[in-house]
């Protein structure tokens, strides 16, 4: 939230300086891609600014890694260190326990989305920057669905390999691979097909904020994916030997 306030405070100063726009326009498209800025989009809007500085890379990566780390700690970590031995000795099923852990992380994701919106809305109100609030809400919904998928495949790896280090290595490895593919795919036209292999392709904050795409389908697709991953994780966990 503090970082969002800092950015909204800086934006009016930056946007009034024509040199900044010139510099931004002169940046090669490959470099823009690395920072998550759309090549076709205008560079002087608040949406482009906040996407490049925050949503497209820092925020996405931080929340993705938060999801990976928390999910693997809640499941693989708790199995490995024995914290789940007594809870799993109660009549509660493993699936119910996984649902609780997934509920904890999903609620945390929801709180983080809410806090992001709160920081942004209060910052823009304070520094009198006009924004379309509903577009940010839509982006948060997309973000929530996107991070839910990452959390659920992290749970799946934790159920499959109930050792913290191993589950974390697979889940973080896959996330960083997706992230890498997204960057590589944006570097040249020839490699653009690589982007389609990346989960990050489903989360384009700038396009949503500028209302150039309707994220409805992505939200539904990602939510469906998260549910399938969760069901798979449940199935694997039910059959797994737990060294508790």
């Amino acid at each position: 939230m503090a970082y969002e306030w800092l950015l909204t405070w800086v934006y009016p100063i930056v946007s009034k300086n024509p040199a900044v726009t010139e510099i931004a326009e002169s940046i090669p498209s490959a470099v823009k891609t690395v920072f998550g800025v759309s090549d076709q989009a205008p560079v002087d809007t608040f949406e482009a600014f906040i996407s490049a500085q925050f949503f497209a890379r820092i925020w996405t990566l931080l929340l993705a890694l938060y999801g990976v780390n928390t999910a693997t700690s809640l499941l693989a970590g708790s199995i490995e260190d024995g914290t789940l031995a007594i809870p799993l000795a109660t009549p509660i099923s493993r699936s119910a326990l996984l649902a609780t852990q997934a509920g904890v992380l999903t609620s945390a994701n929801g709180v983080l989305m809410g806090a992001t919106l709160l920081g942004l809305f209060s910052g823009t109100a304070r520094f009198k920057i006009k924004i379309e609030h509903w577009r940010y809400c839509r982006m948060s919904l997309l973000g929530f669905a996107f991070f839910s998928v990452i959390s659920m495949y992290s749970f799946l790896f934790s159920a499959w390999f109930p050792e913290k280090e191993r589950a974390l290595a697979y889940a973080a490895g896959l996330t960083l691979a997706f992230y890498g593919l997204d960057i590589i795919g944006g570097l040249s036209e020839k490699l653009s097909w690589v982007r389609k292999l990346s989960l990050f392709q489903c989360f384009q904050p700038q396009e949503v904020l500028e209302d150039r795409i309707d994220p409805g389908r992505q939200i539904l697709g990602l939510t469906g994916g998260a549910i399938i991953l969760w069901l798979l994780a449940q199935r694997i966990l039910e059959e797994k030997d737990l060294v508790l």
């Binding site: 007594i86 799993l88 000795a89 109660t90 508790l244």
Partner: protein, 291 residues
């Protein structure tokens, strides 16, 4: 009642348990003894439905411990060998959580209150700040407060001081009076001796013996301490087929199985300075299986 038939579980590195079979009758206590890595905890994990057996079955009150594990666990109070809790909870919060997961059955609250008093636990303390002994008490309360039909405990007195070990034994005897079936692994011979009717001895994943405590105590092994007068006498002892251990010059500890005749034949040839029979303890009988 606990019924284990040809239970086998082998880990990828080859350790595990092989074809274990035993029964624990309802309302009795069964002690499970064995060195570290013998397979005690693996057996308990299979009884708790944490792992699927490779072969064989484990049943509690006729229900399969793997397939019907949720239903089995309604009847079971469990204490793991290594205790790890959600450290940011207080002891009381943790006990309330576990009671809730068992559906807050009638009587849990009263029993919990009594156990907290008897075991003298500061339950409002955060678990992170608790000592190993306090955590062990907390684990014991979480298992005993449920008034379960079956109690499964992995080294229940580890970390408890002698006074609390005594309190624990009294609590177990109380449970037995109520008809609770008890299965516990232990290294504490005294607690097994005082609380269990039968004992199973496991080594390298194989069940070596199942005997009643009485039988084990009465196994015809005797240990004698014998001091002889001369070097010739000492040589006679050493050349004999007796199972001897030299304690000092001319001073031996001799173990005799069943037939005492051989001992007296050898003793008839020497001049004995001192002769004493060591008391036979369960530990002595138990140690036979470790040699």
């Amino acid at each position: 009642m606990i019924e284990v038939q040809q239970l086998t579980k082998v880990y990828p590195k080859g350790r595990g348990i092989h074809g274990l079979s035993f029964q624990v009758e309802a309302g009795t206590a069964f002690g499970f003894l064995g060195p570290n890595g013998a397979g005690k905890t693996t057996t308990i994990r299979l009884l708790m439905g944490f792992m699927k057996p490779d072969q064989g079955s484990a049943l509690i009150h006729g229900q399969d411990c793997w397939r019907d594990r949720e239903s089995v666990k309604r009847r079971v109070g469990y204490l793991p060998g290594e205790l790890h809790f959600m450290e940011n909870l207080t002891g009381l919060e943790f006990l309330e959580l576990i009671a809730g997961m068992h559906g807050e059955r009638w009587g849990i609250k009263q029993k919990r209150k009594r156990l907290i008093q008897v075991l003298d636990l500061e339950c409002r303390k955060t678990i992170r700040k608790m000592s190993k002994g306090m955590k062990q008490k907390l684990g014991l309360i979480s298992a005993l407060m449920l008034d379960a039909e079956v109690l499964i405990m992995d080294e229940p007195t580890s970390g408890l001081d002698p006074l609390m070990q005594k309190v624990f034994m009294e609590l177990i005897l109380e449970e037995k009076k109520k008809g609770t079936t008890i299965f516990m692994s232990s290294h504490q011979f005294q607690e097994i001796e005082r609380t269990c009717e039968r004992v199973g001895i496991i080594r390298e994943g194989q069940l070596l013996s199942i005997q009643s405590i009485h039988e084990l105590q009465q196994m015809e092994y005797r240990t004698f301490e014998i001091e002889v007068k001369s070097t010739e006498d000492a040589e006679t002892i050493e050349e004999s087929e007796l199972e001897w251990t030299k304690v000092d010059v001319g001073f031996y500890r001799i173990r005799v199985a069943k037939d005492m005749g051989q001992l007296f034949q050898v003793l008839a040839k020497v001049q004995v300075k001192r002769f004493a029979q060591c008391s036979l303890e369960l530990e002595d009988a138990f140690m036979q299986y470790y040699r």
